[in-house]
């Protein structure tokens, strides 16, 4: 008996049977075993799945959006920038009745109910864009619907063009996904586009990023900044003066280009009618293109400058040679008339042919020059091939092969009919006459800078190339001065400055061949000041009504643009001498 009682004392407490203790121990062992099994299940069997789940919950892969590059004019004034606006999305899974939702939302987001439903179907079950980049009024109205989780807004970056329609055809525009669609936005899309960054960071229980765990996988790069050669003020002057002329002449449209003849930097490109880049969708696509480089036109008498240069350069005509101008001449069975001036009684020199814009004289010079030689000079001046300006959609012009120069084609081309050029080609070629025969590379972007402000490219830094001998260019420039002093371009005269220029009045080609009766293109190309050119300007007015001569319609526009732009650029009148502090001289006081 004694040993039995001793065993109970050492093993189990009094009143507890050994069997119950064993059962409890076994239960504990079983629970422990279950826990171990569960641990093995979690840590070994389902480890991969759970690890992925944990990473998804705790580790955030964040996209770091960069900003698209901005565009500024040559003085640093912003022309294109970014602003943050809200876009409206829907969560289709949270929408009970899509029909009712569409009916309720459609008037607020300015869509039809069927459009709303189509957009809901286009998105996934948890996200569908309804309208993007909306004004605050729409966003406020959406919030006012109180539709809970079914609809929401997200901030997005949008391109803003603070000057509205100013230089719209040059700047172009970018679409909703920040992709350039027209103009500089398209041409320099690669330089402007930002590179999205990627970072990984842990998240806390409420989804906040834990900065101390942040790791950048791909750094974000903002887009580059474009510094243009364009000047906002000169652009405004050009658009305003061209607009007045187009309105006064009741013309269909017009173009004006202002360029630095020494560098090829484009200071202004005005094309009318224009559009607002902020609302480009509202404008017809025909207005989106830059007609100063994409459209071709028959240059008319402005082309006589290049005929004269070719004639002098080739030596077929001497400066003192004279040509009769009876007002009309028959060539290959066709009659050629003078357009701008009445019959001349005396014989005309080459300079006078240019000065009085004699078609008859030009036809005789062209006959002496010959087709092949004339075409070579035309090519030499850059006609027939794009200038290479850094804008999309540039046309090459239309120069037919000499085998197709039938009938009076040679003589017609001599005064700019039967040949098509872009306004920019004509301006570049004419500006070479003001810079001793050196043609420049026209360009709109002066500098590309990265986000830190470092210069990474200068697209327009191309050396000028010679298109005609220096002596010939200087002689033609002298003829252009005579055109303005006492010829067809007197309305381009500018007090205090010497202007060199040439008028052009061309018939408009008809849609079915031949020329449209009563439809003209009036133009004027000029360089100012002629002694030390600062500006080369071309003005083209399409289909003016009433007066249609280039000297009457386009030359005054040239004068106004040149006058204001020269003052803005602080180019003093020629009669103001440096160091002469004795007087105060205004443009009204100086000699003509």
């Amino acid at each position: 008996m004694i040993p039995r009682a001793r065993r109970r004392d050492s093993g189990t407490p009094p009143g507890v049977s050994r069997g119950r203790t064993t059962a409890l121990f076994c239960a504990w062992i079983i629970v422990l075993a279950l826990l171990v099994l569960r641990m093995i299940d979690l840590q070994v069997v389902r480890a991969g799945v759970l690890q992925r789940l944990a990473i998804r919950q705790q580790l955030g892969l964040l996209k770091l959006p960069g900003r698209r590059g901005t565009v500024v004019d040559r003085m640093g004034r912003p022309l294109i920038m970014n602003v943050e606006v809200d876009s409206v999305y829907a969560v289709p899974r949270a929408i009970g009745d899509p029909d009712a939702f569409a009916r309720e939302v459609s008037p607020v987001v300015h869509l039809t109910p069927s459009e709303v439903q189509a957009r809901l179907r286009r998105g996934g079950p948890y996200f569908a864009w309804l309208v993007r980049r909306q004004p605050p009024s729409v966003v406020g109205a959406v919030a006012g619907l109180r539709l809970g989780d079914a609809i929401g807004t997200l901030p997005e970056s949008r391109r803003a063009y603070p000057a509205g329609s100013l230089a719209a055809s040059v700047l172009g525009f970018a679409g909703v996904d920040d992709a350039g669609l027209e103009g500089l936005e398209l041409r320099y899309d690669g330089a402007l586009r930002a590179t999205e960054g990627v970072e990984v960071a842990d998240r806390d229980a409420v989804g906040r990023e834990l900065v101390q765990t942040q790791r950048i996988l791909t750094p974000v790069h903002d887009g580059n900044t474009l510094v243009l050669t364009l000047d906002e003020v000169i652009q405004h002057i050009a658009e305003r003066e061209l607009g007045r002329a187009v309105q006064d002449a009741r013309a269909r449209d017009g173009m004006a280009i202002v360029m630095d003849p020494h560098t090829g930097g484009i200071l202004a490109v005005a094309t009318l009618p224009s559009f607002d880049s902020n609302q480009y969708q509202d404008a017809p696509p025909a207005l989106w293109k830059n007609r100063a480089i994409a459209d071709v036109y028959e240059p008319g008498s402005t082309f006589k400058l290049f005929l004269a240069a070719a004639a002098l350069s080739s030596g077929v005509v001497a400066p003192e040679d004279r040509f009769p101008d009876p007002g009309q001449i028959r060539i290959n069975g066709f009659t050629i008339h003078d357009a701008e001036r009445p019959t001349h009684t005396s014989l005309l020199t080459l300079a006078e042919i240019v000065k009085y814009s004699s078609n008859v004289g030009a036809a005789q010079v062209a006959t002496r020059l010959g087709k092949v030689r004339f075409q070579q000079y035309i090519w030499q001046f850059g006609f027939g091939s794009p200038t290479g300006i850094d804008l999309p959609g540039e046309a090459a012009g239309i120069i037919r092969p000499v085998t197709q120069w039938l009938g009076p084609s040679l003589q017609n081309i001599a005064f700019g009919q039967g040949i098509s050029v872009t306004p920019l080609q004509l301006l570049v070629a004419a500006s070479a006459l003001g810079t001793h025969g050196l043609a420049v590379q026209p360009h709109v972007v002066a500098v590309i800078r990265d986000a830190a402000g470092h210069t990474i490219d200068t697209p327009g830094n191309v050396s000028p190339h010679r298109v005609i001998e220096r002596e010939v260019a200087d002689r033609i420039l002298g003829m252009m001065r005579e055109v303005v002093r006492d010829g067809t371009g007197t309305k381009a005269q500018l007090d205090g400055y010497t202007v060199a220029g040439k008028t052009g009045t061309a018939q408009r080609p008809g849609p079915r061949g031949g020329y449209e009766p009563g439809a003209y293109v009036s133009s004027f190309v000029g360089i100012v000041p002629a002694e030390a050119p600062r500006l080369a300007i071309l003005v083209v007015v399409d289909r003016p009504r009433g007066m249609y001569f280039g000297g009457d319609v386009a030359a005054p526009v040239f004068r106004e643009i040149a006058r204001q732009a020269l003052w803005y650029l602080r180019v003093p009148p020629q009669d103001v001498r440096v160091g002469d502090a004795g007087g105060r001289v205004g443009p009204g006081d100086v000699r003509r």
Binding site: G164, L166, Q212, V220, R240, D495, P572, A581, G583
Partner: protein, 120 residues
């Protein structure tokens, strides 16, 4: 007994310090996150204001306001004068070499610029 407690305290102390450091880092992280969000908001606001300022400075608008609201007119040709530059204005000597204090100022300015946050 005291020795055991001391050893235990010393053993626990690094863990406490570690927990405190992690907690402080987390706190500073949240603060940085808040500041980053503030910077983003301010940058957005700055861009918006820049856009507004640019549109307000547009030459077309200024001219319209000048002529309609203020009754101004563009000057006529005879109302503008070019002032000849006086010979004295042209007589500039060679550029003066920077002095000691200017060089010192430039040095600190460069140091500050170098220490500034790099651009994004």
């Amino acid at each position: 007994m005291t020795a055991v407690l001391t050893i235990a305290a010393l053993a626990v102390l690094p863990f406490l310090a570690y927990v405190a450091a992690v907690s402080t880092a987390a706190h500073i992280g949240y603060h940085i996150l808040q500041l980053t969000q503030d910077v983003t908001v301010l940058e957005t606001e700055h861009e918006r204001l820049q856009a507004i300022a640019s549109s307000l400075r547009a030459p077309d608008r200024i001219e319209r306001l000048a002529t309609t609201r203020l009754g101004l007119q563009a000057p006529r040709a005879d109302q503008i004068a070019a002032l000849p530059i006086a010979p004295t204005a042209l007589r500039h000597g060679p550029p003066r070499a920077p002095g000691f204090w200017e060089r010192l100022g430039e040095y600190f300015h460069r140091s500050e610029a170098a220490a500034a946050e790099p651009p994004r």
